[in-house]
């Protein structure tokens, strides 16, 4: 679907799709009326007259005439039914129109914007969806507009939302409405593997890293996309520990963390799910932790979105050697205690053992 803003302040949407059955019938009816006074039909008759002497050569050749006429009639109908047309939807102040061009002929359907109650998407059958319109006058009824399969579904949803936004239509939930869930993907991580000059982007699921003299196997990768545009990764190792990479515009951190079993030790209540009013200084086993960062973002495991709003508080000690990470997941407050890893202590990232896709 392409969107163009028109000069009169409206929008023009162009998408490929099929008209619904009701509109197709309407269109065919109009096509019939047009055919009678079409220039094309007179041209056809002229052609027939020209071919007629050729037909006289053999009597059996006469049968060509009815065959060609019948095939022309049915072919045209079949063509309209099967073909995906370019549908243009035009909206501007006070009007909503659907425009279709097929074979130089032109079909136009116009609705008054005051007459529109709302649009919605219905599932007709397996892998077939329909964009429907409910109008208020003369009687409240629904009109099917455009049908499409699963590939077209995203476009239909976008179109519906744009029209609702433009005309300021309040959307009500309807019976039989198809709810489309937009898939949310994490920020893209590059897929090529660097043999030399390796960095954090070369760590993959099921790969092996050499950390502080030991080999570790990566069993899980979580990705956090922060609101300030930065990304953090949590690489879970086979030893229940995790390597956490955190980046902010002013610095980047790498630390090895482990979940705290007893979060009472830092003065935190397990039932407490509000982190906003938490102390800026926490005390644990003889060290003071000072809050350094507060961030909101989305948590992904692989490509699936796990949580929409994750609030994370990051604490560090005075020497910036030990870290404390506190966040809420599923109504559970979790705290991770970490110790810094120098970048040169992470060596030799080996590619994953399983097949790459």
């Amino acid at each position: 679907m392409n969107i163009i803003e028109t000069r009169n302040g409206g929008y023009l949407f162009t998408l490929k799709g099929k008209l619904s059955k009701t509109l197709q019938d309407e269109y065919k009816k109009r096509l019939k009326e047009e055919e009678n006074r079409d220039e094309n039909s007179s041209f056809l008759i002229l052609m027939l007259l020209m071919i007629f002497p050729v037909v006289l050569i053999h009597p059996i050749l006469f049968s060509f005439i009815p065959i060609s006429l019948i095939s022309y009639y049915f072919g045209n109908r079949l063509y309209i039914k099967k073909k995906e047309e370019t549908i243009k939807v035009n909206i501007f102040e006070g009007s909503f129109a659907i425009n279709v061009h097929i074979n130089k002929s032109h079909f136009f359907k116009h609705f008054d914007s005051n007459n529109i109650e709302q649009l919605y998407i219905r599932k007709i059958e397996q892998n077939k969806y329909c964009l429907c319109l409910i109008i208020k006058h003369p009687i409240r009824q629904q009109i099917a507009l455009i049908t499409g399969n699963e590939d077209k579904l995203a476009e239909l949803v976008d179109l519906k939302n744009k029209i609702h936004n433009y005309f300021d239509i309040q959307e009500d939930e309807l019976e039989g409405e198809f709810n489309y869930e937009k898939l949310e993907l994490p920020k893209r991580k590059r897929q090529y593997f660097n043999l030399f000059h390796q960095d954090i982007n070369d760590i993959r699921l099921n790969s092996v890293i050499h950390l502080k003299g030991n080999d570790h196997h990566i069993t899980k990768i979580n990705q956090l996309d922060w609101k300030n545009g930065m990304v953090s990764y949590q690489f879970t190792l086979e030893t229940e520990e995790a390597l956490f990479y955190h980046s902010s515009p002013a610095e980047r951190l790498l630390f090895l963390e482990k979940e705290m079993t007893d979060i009472n030790a830092i003065g935190l209540n397990p039932c407490q799910t509000e982190l906003e009013g938490l102390d800026k200084i926490l005390y644990h086993k003889g060290t003071n932790f000072y809050q350094t960062e507060q961030n909101k973002g989305k948590l992904f495991e692989g490509k699936t979105l796990l949580h929409d709003h994750v609030l994370q508080l990051l604490y560090e000690n005075k020497e910036k050697q030990r870290f404390l990470r506190i966040f809420v997941l599923d109504g559970d407050t979790k705290a991770m205690l970490g110790e810094i890893v120098e970048e040169h202590q992470l060596q030799e990232i080996l590619p994953e053992t399983e097949e790459w896709n």
Partner: protein, 323 residues
Amino acid sequence: MKIIKDNQQVIIKINWGQEYLKKIALQTLLVFPSVFIIQLFFSGIFPFTFSAWIIISSILFAIALYIQYLNYGSSNLICTGEELWIYNEESRYSIPTSRIAQFYLKHTSSSSGINVFLKTIEDSEIDCFRGNHLHPKKALEIENTLEKFLGIEDYYVEGEYQVAGHQKKELQERQLADIQPKGDIFSTPLIEGLIENEFQFEWNDGEIDHVYWVHDGKQLNTVYQSNLDTHIEEKLNKVLFFNKIDMDHNTRFDQLPYSFTLEGDHYRLEQDKSGLFFNKHAEKNKVHADQKMYLSPSEHHSKTIRICLFSKINLEISKGISY
């Protein structure tokens, strides 16, 4: 079209004659059975010569197709982490991957298919396959494969052809001329090293500031470059910072003082700006940034404290020094 990909490279081989043949075959496939049926019906009327005529014409048709097939040639595209090579007929083209901003599809009015274009960070456009066009689904596959491989975020380029799915979001307006791509050498009297990452602030008054991560062989340094000066920066803990200047550590950004004293130096508010923050060439999300810059003037070196608030939640304090 053949796509071979592994961890280290993507190879795309396209035989244009083959693509052309497939297209022709799909379009003319329906003709052959109909000819066969006609022949069955009218075998009484048309003698042997008619079928002979069909055979001769189809042989001629095949020869014409074969000549076309030879005419079209092939294209190869090889992409590694560092560089992208495109081999077309008798011409080759290569570009470092750090200079690629985006791949996109375009429908030019002269062609029945889709062309694959490449956009560099200097805003110039390159037709990857020299005017040869592809089926939209195949072109989309090439675009997605390359963008996924290089980790480029997909966004809408003006005039882009969209095959199916959601309308892509447009990129934020951003000046592209000042960018020093990743991997270049950062060289000033203050510091010299390799650029590992680059960030940009665009303030509402029109000025542009940069932050670079520069690796000088020993460690990673954060360098803040503005119109006034270049500073090497160090991140401060915000709680400790507020303790040192005798303020409550729950202080909000808009409650920050006009001047303060830190470790014997007196700092005064120099700039108070707000604008947008970008951390990559392509960034679809708008990150709002407010910044207060404090300056402590001195004869030999200047010291700065930069307090920045990202998207109204994330507060960062950096101490800068310049000789």
